[in-house]
């Protein structure tokens, strides 16, 4: 029998049935493990929110943003965190103003201009990645020593904003670079082939295409800065401040700092107020992260 005839013979025999569905324990186990991990992460978040809302329920009212903080237990019923809310807004707005232009410009240099075969550009890149992992308290120490003392800006809004900017800068740079890298090379080539300069190509083609990704990264970086307390403890944002900041050189307090202070107090009333402030902070974070998701979905480009 020839090989071809053997092949025909084999074809003639009916193929085995496809109908027997097999249960594959490995598949099921793996799926369950994945779901379990997700559940653990989610459970902690839910527990945190439920606990904070339950604990702070009585204080979740207008007093929270209409009243100023107090240090005295006798006045706690009429206390709020207004100066912390306004302080947070001041500090975060300034942080955005400082860190976003600097971070995006650095990312543009590294992605669009720098020759990555040069050792100093690679060193720069390595350093920025390392900076992203530096503990925030270290930035606080730097701010205390250099910005508050040597430069002499003191314990003010501007000092806090500069330190938080340094803290989130690596994140902003890394996110912006990712966004720039996601813009296809073909778009740059098309622009150059028409006689556009590097800056024209960057400003008119690459940046507009990268902005959604940059915005997402920027918002996530700022929401990290928003919740940061450690460096600010070093930078003088610890006292009960009974007025809102009105300039770059005002003293200030922020929500995370207030929460930290209130938790330290022994009386239950302070604890309730802290829980209410936590719910408020979580609410702001949720709002910012939702904005990031909305921007990402709305402007996402398909090439």
């Amino acid at each position: 029998m020839t090989a071809a005839a053997a092949a025909r013979e084999a074809v003639a025999a009916p193929p085995p049935p496809l109908t027997q569905r097999r249960i594959r324990p490995g598949e099921i186990l793996f799926r369950l493990a994945l779901q379990l991990c997700l559940l653990i992460a989610f459970a902690f978040l839910v527990a945190l929110v439920v606990f904070a809302v339950y604990k702070g329920w009585d204080r979740l009212d207008a007093r929270l943003w209409q009243q100023m903080p107090t240090g005295r237990a006798s006045r706690v019923e009429s206390a709020g965190v207004q100066s912390a809310i306004t302080g947070t807004l001041w500090v975060i707005a300034l942080t955005a103003l400082i860190s976003l232009p600097t971070g995006i410009a650095s990312a543009i240099y590294m992605e669009e201009y720098a020759d990555n075969t040069r050792w100093y550009n690679r060193l720069l890149e390595l350093n920025i990645q390392n900076l992203a992992g530096v503990p925030s308290i270290v930035f606080g120490i730097l701010g205390l020593g250099l910005i508050a003392r040597v430069i002499g800006l003191g314990f003010t809004v501007i000092t806090a904003a500069i330190v938080l900017s340094l803290l989130v800068l690596p994140t902003v740079i890394i996110a912006s670079r990712e966004a720039l890298r996601a813009v296809p090379q073909s778009i740059r080539q098309a622009s150059y082939a028409l006689g556009a300069t590097r800056w024209q190509t960057t400003a008119r083609q690459v940046l507009p295409a990268a902005i959604p990704g940059m915005a997402t990264g920027a918002i996530l970086a700022l929401s990290r800065a928003l919740g940061e307390a450690a460096p600010l403890i070093l930078l003088g944002a610890v006292t009960f401040i009974r007025f809102n900041p009105d300039s770059l050189l005002s003293t200030y307090t922020t929500l995370p700092i207030q929460i930290y202070n209130l938790i330290k107090e022994p009386q239950a009333e302070f604890q309730e107020l802290a829980a209410a402030a936590i719910v408020l902070l979580l609410g702001i974070l949720l709002l910012m992260n939702s904005a990031a998701i909305v921007i990402r979905n709305k402007f996402q480009k398909r090439w």
């Binding site: 073909s186 080539q189 098309a190 150059y192 028409l194 556009a196 398909r302």
Partner: protein, 291 residues
């Protein structure tokens, strides 16, 4: 177009002899074509690797020059060196002289930005900007600072020249990404001619397109040759035979040290190259015995 459309013949008869499609365009049309680009002993390096070695050829004005050859033979590399797009690749370097109307392209005083305004490029994959059709065309004139009295007229003319106007005239403000692949490629051609270059380089402009869209682009190229000098890289030999006046056949060869280099084998009138090539390698390639 007044000449009979070669692609119809090509599509009704699945394997037409290459000769019949090549007779229409001839490099020897009784008009003197001055060389626009002249390559003398061109080698292109990527770092230490010499991708193409020792290319000598000249591209004549108002003619279509096709570069053909198997993958990795360096034809796209040569094409990209003609408007210094290779400059954008770190480590790329050109040795030898490329002159454009007698000026050396790689001379120190040559501004590559200015050069690319004269020598435009259409890429393999259509790459419209993620903007409106109108803005795609207007981008080049805007960034190059062209004195434009009426941008609407310029956009219309470029789209008409690229045989796209009738299909898009009612949706100029819509995104270019909504067009079909063939329309996007014609938009890219329109965008290139909007800055009035002298030379248009095309890097396998039809390889991502279906036969109908390919036919439209080929017709367009033949019409554009009246006003532009065109250099096209193509994998498709029939395409080279249909649209070009002159054809350069490249191949890759392994040298004594065991390293592959691209090399120009033969550069001839398209008619001659496809009917009576001088080299055995060319004949093997065009008859499908190799590559």
């Amino acid at each position: 177009m007044t000449t009979p459309d070669p692609k119809d013949a090509a599509m009704t008869h699945p394997a037409p002899p290459l000769i019949t499609t090549a007779v229409r365009l001839s490099a020897d049309d009784g008009v003197a074509h001055e060389p626009v680009l002249t390559l003398k002993d061109i080698s292109v390096f990527y770092g230490d690797y010499e991708a193409v070695r020792g290319v000598d050829m000249a591209m004549a004005g108002n003619q279509i020059t096709a570069l053909i050859g198997p993958s990795g033979c360096g034809k796209s590399t040569v094409l990209r060196s003609l408007n210094r797009m290779n400059d954008l690749i770190p480590g790329a370097r050109v040795a030898g002289t490329i002159s454009y109307h007698g000026q050396s392209l790689y001379a120190r005083e040559v501004d590559p930005i200015e050069l690319r305004r004269r020598i435009g490029m259409v890429f393999q994959k259509p790459n419209p900007f993620p903007k409106s059709i109108y803005d795609n065309i207007a981008y080049g004139p805007r960034v190059t600072g062209m004195k434009v009295t009426n941008m609407n007229d310029l956009v219309e003319q470029a789209l008409r020249d690229a045989a796209l106007w009738d299909e898009v005239k009612d949706k100029l403000k819509q995104s270019a990404l909504a067009l079909s692949g063939g329309q996007q490629q014609r938009l890219c051609i329109a965008r290139t001619i909007a800055v009035r270059p002298e030379v248009i380089l095309m890097d396998e402009p039809c390889s991502a397109l279906d036969p109908i869209a390919t036919g439209k682009i080929e017709d367009l190229m033949i019409n554009l040759a009246a006003d532009y000098t065109i250099v096209i890289v193509t994998h498709n030999m029939q395409q080279a035979a249909r649209v070009s006046h002159r054809t350069a056949f490249f191949t890759a060869e392994v040298d004594e040290a065991g390293i592959r280099h691209g090399r120009l084998v033969e550069y001839e009138d398209t008619n001659k190259l496809f009917t009576n090539p001088n080299h055995k390698q060319t004949e093997d390639y065009i008859t499908g015995r190799f590559g």
